[in-house]
């Protein structure tokens, strides 16, 4: 060991026994790093799912590297590239799907772009206003994998796996129905319209509705569907009744369904069962009449206010409706009459119906004929009545009028003619006319002449009275005035005579005083005479004094 010349006092370091060098612990670090890195790499490779392509008409709102693919709002993939399709009719979106979602990408998987959308049923995709569009996905039932898809232009109304049933409705007009129009059951929203299309021949619409699961069992075989848009206002004896489904249905329309309550609940309808979509609830619940008879009722009065479809009423029960109103101008008749054709549903008359059920059809008809003949003989007539005084609407009433003129139904005519009776308002009119005629007959001229004469004599009489009064005024009044003046003078002198300071009063007072004195001296004389009766003769004596 060479000595350091300038550092003589350097102490010796304490040597340690050499340690056995195993692999330094620091080599653990790269091992850990490789392990972690390797694990991450393996996981990334394992998690790398399939790459799919979706063709859309436009790439509006889509962005490579940013736009996500979501299934039930869960991100399952990212768009990696957007290119024009080779035929330049659309765009091809390439996307990486997460490994975990690989089995969702099958033959009937559907893709669509979620953008903000405002429909009748509501507003959807609000979140995309800020976040930008994303691609929505709905898985399919197929097990065959598929990697190339054609995207939907509008989101599907129904996502797969939603429990419920689909029904077909047949409608004459679409009304306000559109995709997503709600379906109501007892005002509860239970489904929606998923599709509609016009018939091949354009005669009506086929509307497909979907009713969600717990509620589809309320769709029974005799369930009626009707358009629930708008407000149904009914004025009845119990008051004003307003029927609406909901506010949104009022504005946007809707479809409601219900089952007539009278029938025992039948089997729930199978999915896909066709139904008729009625215009109103009333139309939907109208009885379906199988047996129908046609009659014609001939009226001589105006049928203003009577409409086709107006009810035929038997004592409050509607048993039919007016099917046609015509003017019968046939030369066979002597006058112009109104021929009103009626459709009558005899089954609505329970008794007839019961009989009809027991016998076969032909017998039934004859039976009804004899029945009606009997009824007509008893006064069964058709009559026009006013249903509504304000609008003047008429309906045809069938009722018994025992006093009606005899009539008969000619069953050979088709349709047979029911005898009529002028009725209701018409009768009232006749009465009023007869009253008017009677009023007309009153000799108003003569009455007024007499009246004028009476008035004239009265006038004359009043003139006489006037002269009399004037004469009384002129002749009698001065006399009365003089008499009154006399009377006043008399009273004044009487007053003067009786006044306290009048000379007569004073004189009277003095006279009375004199009388009093005379009486006193008389008393003294009397006393003296009593004591000295002789004084009268002898004069008075002194001792006689008391």
């Amino acid at each position: 060991m060479p000595e350091s010349p300038g550092l003589p006092d350097v102490p010796e370091a304490v040597a340690e026994p050499p340690r056995r060098h195993s692999l330094p612990l620091v080599w653990l670090l790269p091992v850990i790093a490789i392990a972690v890195g390797g694990w991450l790499a393996v996981r990334a490779i394992l998690e790398h799912g399939p790459t799919i392509t979706i063709t859309f008409r436009s790439a509006e709102g889509l962005e490579a590297g940013k736009t996500k693919i979501r299934f039930k709002e869960v991100e399952i993939g990212t768009v990696t590239a957007i290119t024009l399709s080779s035929d330049r009719t659309g765009v091809v979106v390439t996307a990486d799907i997460a490994k975990s979602a690989e089995n969702l990408i099958v033959e009937d998987t559907r893709f669509w772009v979620v953008r903000p959308r405002i429909t009748g049923g509501g507003i959807s995709g609000i979140g995309t206003l800020l976040s930008g569009a994303y691609i929505g996905m709905d898985d399919g039932d197929s097990t065959t994998a598929r990697r190339s898809f054609i995207g939907l232009e509008a989101p599907p109304v129904l996502t797969a796996g939603l429990p419920g049933s689909e029904y077909k409705l047949r409608a004459d007009s679409l009304g306000s129905i559109t995709f997503g129009t709600p379906v109501y059951f007892r005002r509860l929203e239970v489904g929606e319209v998923i599709a509609y299309d016009l018939d091949e021949d354009g005669s009506g619409f086929n509307v497909r509705v979907f009713v969600n699961a717990p509620y589809d069992r309320f769709v029974r075989r005799n369930t009626r569907f009707w358009q629930a848009s708008g407000i149904d206002v009914a004025l009845s004896a119990s008051g004003l009744q307003v029927n609406t489904e909901s506010f949104s249905a009022m504005l946007l329309g809707g479809i409601a369904f219900g089952t007539p309550p009278d029938a025992a609940p039948p089997q729930p309808a199978d999915a896909g069962t066709p139904f008729t979509l009625f215009d109103t609830r009333a139309a939907a619940f109208k009885r379906e009449d199988t047996v129908e008879q046609r009659y014609v009722a001939v009226f001589r009065e105006s049928v203003r206010g009577l409409e086709v479809g107006a009810p035929v009423d038997f004592r409050g029960i509607i048993i039919g409706e007016v099917s046609a109103i015509e003017v019968d101008f046939s030369p066979g008749r002597k006058e112009v009459v109104m021929a009103v054709e009626l459709r009558v549903f005899p089954r609505r008359l329970r008794r007839l119906a019961r009989e009809a059920k027991e016998k076969d059809a032909e017998t039934t008809e004859t039976d009804i004929h004899t029945q009606i003949d009997r009824m007509v003989a008893a006064g069964f007539r058709a009559q026009l009545r006013t249903g509504n005084l304000i609008t003047g609407q008429l309906y045809v009433a069938l009722d018994f009028f025992p006093k009606a003129a005899k009539a008969q139904v000619d069953w050979n005519k088709s349709p047979p003619e029911l005898p009529t009776i002028s009725g209701g308002l018409q009768e009232l009119q006749t009465t009023l006319t007869s009253i008017a005629t009677k009023l007309d007959k009153i000799p108003y001229d003569k009455i007024s002449d007499d009246l004028r004469q009476s008035l004239q004599s009265l006038d004359r009489m009043l003139g006489g009275v006037d002269t009399l009064v004037r004469r009384l005024d002129a002749e009698l009044t001065p006399e009365v005035k003089a008499t009154l003046a006399e009377a006043r003078r008399t009273i004044a002198s009487a007053e003067r005579t009786l006044a306290a300071d009048s000379p007569m009063q004073q004189e009277t007072r003095e006279a009375l005083r004199e009388i009093a004195r005379a009486a006193a001296s008389l008393r003294a004389l009397t006393d003296l005479l009593e004591r000295q009766p002789g004084a009268l003769i002898r004069g008075k004596t002194e001792e006689a004094l008391p």
Partner: protein
């Protein structure tokens, strides 16, 4: 040419704890300070091996640091994950090419350059190369100096992740890439620290002594 005098050639070692100079026997590998008892050595023991280990760790971690996202941005406008490269691409496309260059240099070039430089130094030292010792010493100093500045990305992510926390409005969380990147920077710093620059000069002085 006179032989250079080094502490090692003189058999002297200084205690890093108490600065006492002590004499070290030629074949003594491990010793401790006679005054304070701290271990003393002529050269950092296992310097090359430790440096290699850390360097390899850093190199391995460099891959996930660039491949994995370093930042998850969740906001009303959607969620997004960014890697370092995608951030640079975004900056470049957004027109901030200057920022893009800074981030590219600080986050990709510098760590990579450090890895390469350290590997080069280690190989040259192991081969006892006498080539350009001065340049290599400068390179080492540069590597050591630059080390602390490479954490730029990690700082940015750490700051954002702490500051931006508006629940549903906007949230930024650090991704695994940030952890890996931070680990790359730290391990390269440790690797640089583990490297003993005196080893660059040892073959030079030996050659000189042999020539003399």
């Amino acid at each position: 040419m006179t032989p250079e005098t080094t502490a090692a050639s003189a058999g002297l070692a200084v205690c890093h704890a108490c600065d006492l100079v002590s004499r070290l026997g030629r074949d003594v590998h491990a010793a401790h300070c006679p005054r304070c008892g701290a271990s003393v050595h002529l050269r950092k023991p296992g310097s090359i091996a430790r440096s290699w280990a850390l360097l390899i760790t850093a190199a391995v971690l460099y891959v996930p640091a660039n491949v994995l996202p370093i930042m998850h941005t969740g906001s009303l406008f959607g969620a997004q994950s960014d890697t370092i490269l995608s951030g640079i691409v975004y900056l470049w496309h957004a027109g901030s090419w200057d920022l893009a260059v800074i981030v590219f240099v600080a986050s990709i070039v510098v760590p990579l350059a450090k890895l390469i430089a350290l590997a080069f130094l280690l190989v040259s030292v192991q081969r006892r190369s006498t080539w350009q010792p001065m340049q290599r010493a400068k390179l080492y100093r540069a590597v050591e100096f630059v080390g602390k500045w490479s954490m730029l990305d990690v700082y940015v992510v750490a700051l954002l992740a702490t500051l931006v926390h508006f629940q549903s409005l906007a949230t930024i969380t650090a991704g695994t890439g940030a952890v890996a990147f931070g680990a790359v920077v730290v391990t390269t710093m440790f690797a640089a620290m583990a490297f003993d620059p005196r080893l660059i000069w040892d073959p030079v002085s030996e050659a000189r002594a042999r020539r003399a």
